[in-house]
Subunit: 359 residues, 4 copies
């Protein structure tokens, strides 16, 4: 049994500090979460019921609650409102819908720039591109590595788009940290716990894809690994399950979106590209995801998919991507959300006010 301590609205920094210290003295690990109006402190660890009482007595403590889920910091019990991240001025989560697009793998500067320009014009707010590609075969193209990261950084800066790229090895965390804005943890590495701990010790956002046979609780436990290290900037992403149904590459579990939202405050994305495995199916799945309330999608776009070095068959053409974006924006509005757009000028759509628990 773990706990969260809800501070009163008028609690001072000293009050909070006292609670944090007391939690430490009780042999628990404190986790601080400062919201706009309230501060909340998590207390993780084995404890006896009296502990609850001891914390409840401290000045400016409004409430102390036990958390019953196996994940603590990831749970709605710990943080009731949606987490809204601020990534280089772009708000992610809550009502904000973001589309992350780009090629599967970075293959060269010109191709990357061309695709990035196209997806930004169509309404994507962030740029994806793989530099380290985990591949089933040891004889397949595994990405451009360090040089790919450099190109991603260059193009991202030029177009003012935050970038996301996969990291697959704990030893690569510093290198990826220096070049990209968001760490992507791929489905195969969802339970690479040392990797999760490494990115958890940084201050850059982490985007965790659900393993192809992972339960939702296991996904949230992987998020908890990152959160437990003090990095609260976590997004999770449904990307399809491995089931008997082989008409698609994976079976997109669209119900994961409302289920995760019920259990957790973290933004939930959907990857329609890997689930579908065929570009013709991508728009239907993307629209379904947004209709189900997702915080966004991550989608593979390629201007010449026949020549793509990786996953060509599932990459959408820029023109089709643009068409899909039109419908996607309208559907987002019907469910009370709003797509973050860059395409009029290069400034973010509005000055972000930090309403989440982490800036």
């Amino acid at each position: 049994m773990d706990m969260i301590v809800v501070m009163k609205a008028n609690a001072t920094a000293d009050d909070v500090q006292r609670v944090v210290e007391r939690i430490g003295e009780l042999g628990l690990v404190p986790h601080l979460s400062k919201g706009e109006f309230r501060t909340i402190v998590g207390a993780i660890g084995q404890k006896t019921p009296p502990t609850l009482e001891q914390l409840r007595q401290l000045p400016a403590v409004d409430e102390v609650l036990a958390i019953t889920q196996p994940y603590k910091l990831a749970s709605r019990e710990f943080h009731e409102a949606d987490t809204i991240l601020d990534i280089k001025g772009i708000r992610v989560g809550g009502p904000h819908v973001n589309v992350i697009a780009g090629p599967c793998a970075i293959e060269g500067r010109d191709m990357l720039f061309e695709i990035a320009r196209a997806v930004k014009d169509a309404g994507a707010s962030m740029l994806r591109g793989g530099a380290f590609k985990p591949r089933t075969s040891p004889y397949a193209f595994t990405g451009m590595g360090r040089e790919g990261l450099r190109l991603l950084q260059e193009v991202g800066r030029e177009l003012s788009m935050p970038t996301i790229t996969e990291v697959t090895d704990p030893r690569d965390v510093p290198l990826v940290y220096d070049h990209a804005d968001i760490f992507q943890i791929g489905a195969r590495n969802m339970q690479n716990f040392n990797l999760l701990l490494e990115v958890g010790r940084t201050d850059k956002p982490v985007f965790i894809k659900r393993g192809l046979a992972a339960s939702i609780n296991e996904l949230l436990m992987s998020a908890e690994y990152v959160l437990s290290q003090g990095n609260h900037r976590v997004m999770v992403c449904e990307r399809g399950l491995r089931t008997f149904a082989d008409e698609t590459r994976f079976t997109l579990d669209v119900s994961a979106v409302p289920v995760i939202q019920e259990r957790s405050h973290l933004p939930v994305f959907v990857d329609p590209s890997h689930a579908a495995g065929k570009r013709d199916l991508v728009p239907a799945l993307a629209l379904a995801a947004i209709a189900a309330g997702a915080a966004g999608i991550i989608v593979e776009v390629h201007s010449c998919p026949d020549r793509a070095l990786c996953d060509g068959p599932q990459a959408v053409l820029p023109a089709n991507f643009a068409r899909m974006m039109q419908q996607l924006r309208q559907i987002a509005e019907i469910v009370g959300h709003r797509v973050t757009l860059w395409n009029r000028d290069d400034a973010p759509p509005a000055r972000p006010t930090t309403t989440g628990w982490m800036s």
Copy 2:
């Protein structure tokens, strides 16, 4: 290898008759499909390549094509345009989106009428209600049977709503035929082939739910069983797969919608209720289904779900159903579809023009 014979636009009834007879002489089984502008004749059976040539020479034959799929009459190769059914004046399929709603099981006249009235007011075009309920336990409530069918017929007539109910035994086909407008074949009976053959020999529409571990091709083969008997009024329905993911009752395979549409001309529905198993998740899945292009949904609604004799936890309350219908209608329009509505007056929304291959 089977074939379809495409007649010229100006083919006369005699021309068609000659083709049908020739197919019979060649030892094949003919299947006639009259469209608005063209007539198409399927020819099913083992045959040698010369057969193709023999049919090609007949007067008024435009083209003869081989069908490569295991399903023939259900395939897009056989019938390229979407099938649009006319069910008591309501058009189903193509751009028409229909919402079928009602209680899981019929429990009594008042309850059924109350729910039917509510869902019709909110925009449902057809009424569902189970009289024969297949249940895992031999000791559970298995429906009101014949009396339930009578009530369904009565309420359907009173509200001018076409009705759909499950038939589970070939011996019940005549009884259900006399009382309901659409035969529902449940997921457990998707491969009850004798049952499929029986309903295939009637002229009432058949609504086939995908088995919880059935592939899409198996679903289309079950449709083919009905089609092969001459009943061309078939709809299919995705209702969730059994996977390891146990956060929902079943894993809704939303990608089945575009996949089936690619392979078949039959209308594709989605059942968000059985997939979710929990009412809170139903709206998100319903909206996702319509965004993905489904021809409609079938959803369980109950005004007092705590007392429902069957599947209470997944029944949506009428007020929530009405709210969901608002968003559903808007999303249908964004993807180029239109929800069939009854709620202004009791006449169908427009005089149906038979554009499908079956009236």
Copy 3:
């Protein structure tokens, strides 16, 4: 909450009768089970705790227990010892291992006799052969029907082998009853509840295959359908699950054997042929099943599988079957079981003493 009433060892027929009547008066349904030393009476239905007390007071009642499983008559709580069936002098269940073998479909008298002779010589105790074949495609061979049943009966009699064949339609139950010794309920019909009720009203043994996506409890609930009608001669059979693993036709769940044995007293068979889908894999799966403690296997054998009209690729050749039987018999002994053999003379291996709860 349902109950079982355990009678004292010296209870008379009158004592038992009194309990049965009292159960009826209390509004419950009685189920009688006479063992060698004890009689047990099940009482199924909604009841209040006092009922337990009322039954406990009756003369010659030793104990009254509540059954907590959803299945009652199928549970170990209801019947602690293994059920041992006597099928035409052959004992099935407990330590007795039986091998059921034969072609997938009956294709003609000579072929059937040849295969039956071969499998009997190699040690099979019962003969399988399909007359009604459920097929995914409406255009595939669906069995010889009534004529097939006649051939099966004839060959079974000639070789003194009990026969088993699939029944797929409640309307065929009387016909199959007249020709075969055991009703097989196929995986697709495991939840064809009306079919289960029909065979439950006969006095012939029923062999229920697990559906390809059925849980073990659902399988036992299907057994319960048969048991609830008074037919206590039920066997169940694991035949592979549909999973993502497509190297085999289905994934054989060998752990179902010990799991079912823990929960139920019914004999558990395994079908390695349908699980494997390829004959080369059948022996390994058959031996694994017996090593795991199965009551037997049902296996497809064909002397000319390339010409088989159904499932040829998974049929084992008679010579390979004989080789496999040698190892199978030795493994059965290592785990404390004994294979029923016919191959020395045509009398059953020993005079069956009814030690089970049903003769």
Copy 4:
């Protein structure tokens, strides 16, 4: 398309060297495999058909074959006979059955020694024990780390048992190399490609567990990662799939044993403990695995499972393990295998003759 070059029996070291060099000149990567009588050289890489001819002409080349599988060095096409490893004098693979046993996690010296002594006496040939435990929760016990490795080494030496332990991070490879005899790659890390590459660069045997949703080809591709780095001492292990069936922790895919043996020459183990998740089911699964032809099992044993810090419910008690070993040895013999035993004296059962392709 890749190739293998089969050298003539009388080929000299120089002949082989010439082939290796020529392969390099042609832009391919050579892989050397010296058997008792023949040497085989793999040539991996994109190539044109003429290459085949060019290699065929070299002196002492007997045959050049194309390999059609995605895995090359792991395939039966590359190496037809079973690989037999020699691990500290114990032969693994081919007819040799080995039982690896021990606690899930190393918890202390006394406990580890007690369990190791017990399993060795009962017939286990190798000792397992986890020092780095990947756990779903960041708050769970994750093993004793370096100190655990030290204890494992000490106990293994004292009892002359080769040891196996999991490595989860590429950075830990040197540390684990110094303390254990076999690297275990856990199911969660089956596609941690950088980890596979690291252990592939060592000369110690690697034991790869199949991921819970990995296909058999993916498992063999992971083996290929290790093989491709020059480490040919690889074993693979089936440990259960994640399916809808929740009666067991995972669904043991026993058919993986014959399927892998058909495709690959590598020894195939089975882990009945993780599949079952409950100790009562372990013996049935262990016997099934050996009956299906597995090269051995890896099983968790604990003398006090209620107090185990990890996976207690699935640990078998030493007495039950000993009983199971009796049956296991007999079943191995029936299928033509032989269990490696240590329990009479502390010398390996026979002087190992290297019949495999790697010593």
